[in-house]
Symmetry: C2
Subunit: 211 residues, 2 copies
């Protein structure tokens, strides 16, 4: 099917949301861990997460301030530290359940039964079950006027990853780590390696790298 | 392994790049199609692509202006229109090859043998082989001072997707469409459905949705 802008605008709201969230492609879905000034932890599944740069090591996160994720945003702004935790198949259901609109006094860690762990002296909580944990420090907040979304840029302060999934060249084998991806708002998928290629150069055939 | 900020900063450049690009999770890798004022088409594989919002339908793209992708950026700024094209397994090698630093006079469409197609009166070229095609209009450019990256926000003007991968509720089955994902800078993976869940509510068990 071919849809133009006016066709997309005419779609029913949830239909459009499913379509446009899916067409964006596979996403980096993570559990975002934060803590409030009062010490209440919060955990929220989010998929608007992306690589910004490697040096310095930066990641981006988009949040709608009026959404169920408003507490994550206010905790990040108050506390400046927050965590991204990769999701594996064995806790997808608990991860998805963190999206429920719990009362302000409820921690999604307790509500879903996911475990809390703290690394070094980092202030925000990590998910115990998560194989890959990233601790970030708020560097910049950019308000996107075009749709009222807030972009949070954070620098990686600490990371934990199993030794046996990191190759000699630094590449992390996410499939081996069990990290899943998502399609749209609510579907979760595992992955299967196809190919890893050498650096592309004009007039030179690609080499396949085994891993 | 546990790495802190100083450990990450001390890593060799390519090692750090592989590590930080991988830890960001699975990415939406697309071929970005553009055309210059002089009519030279350009095609570049990029993975810093993300959903910004469904209403209006917006997507984001990050580009380093000093990189091999500088022509994509200048074409978007000149022409205002550009395309995202999902990648399938049967042309991963050609897609990866678009990352080579070709001469300014060479179109990556011709160099790699990927086909060009135009939809309606949209000015930028789409990839013929791609099952899912998205045409975008430049809405906003935000320069991220923190690392010199440019963020391009575009509104979806047109999209093409096979009928048989769109469910009744608008959800696009990306696995069925053959869309792949990527790990780090150079590894490509197919996906395998695990679960799709109902909307999460407190004190209500999740339902699994079949698709």
């Amino acid at each position: 099917m071919l849809l133009e802008k006016s066709d997309i605008e005419a779609l029913e709201k949830n239909h459009r949301s499913n379509l446009i969230n899916s067409i964006a492609g596979f996403k980096s879905v993570n559990l975002v861990g934060t803590i409030s000034e009062n010490g209440l932890s919060n955990l929220a599944i989010m998929s608007q997460i992306f690589h910004i740069g490697a040096n310095p090591a930066l990641m981006g996160l988009l949040i709608r301030p009026d959404s169920v994720n408003r507490h994550t945003l206010s905790n990040i702004i108050q506390n400046k530290q927050y965590t991204f935790n990769h999701i594996q198949e064995n806790f997808i259901d608990k991860a998805h359940q963190t999206a429920a609109r719990y009362d302000d006094t409820v921690s999604e860690f307790e509500a879903t039964g996911l475990g809390t762990v703290y690394l070094k002296n980092f202030k925000a909580p990590f998910v115990k079950e998560s194989n890959i944990k990233i601790g970030l420090q708020l560097e910049e907040r950019i308000d996107l006027k075009i749709n009222g979304t807030v972009m949070i840029i954070g620098s990686i302060q600490i990371l934990e990853v199993p030794n046996d999934v990191v190759l000699e060249d630094g590449f992390i084998d996410l499939q081996k780590a069990g990290t899943i991806t998502c399609n749209g708002l609510d579907a979760y998928l595992s992955t299967h390696k196809l190919k890893r290629f050498s650096y592309a150069k004009p007039d030179k055939a690609l080499k396949e790298m085994s891993y």
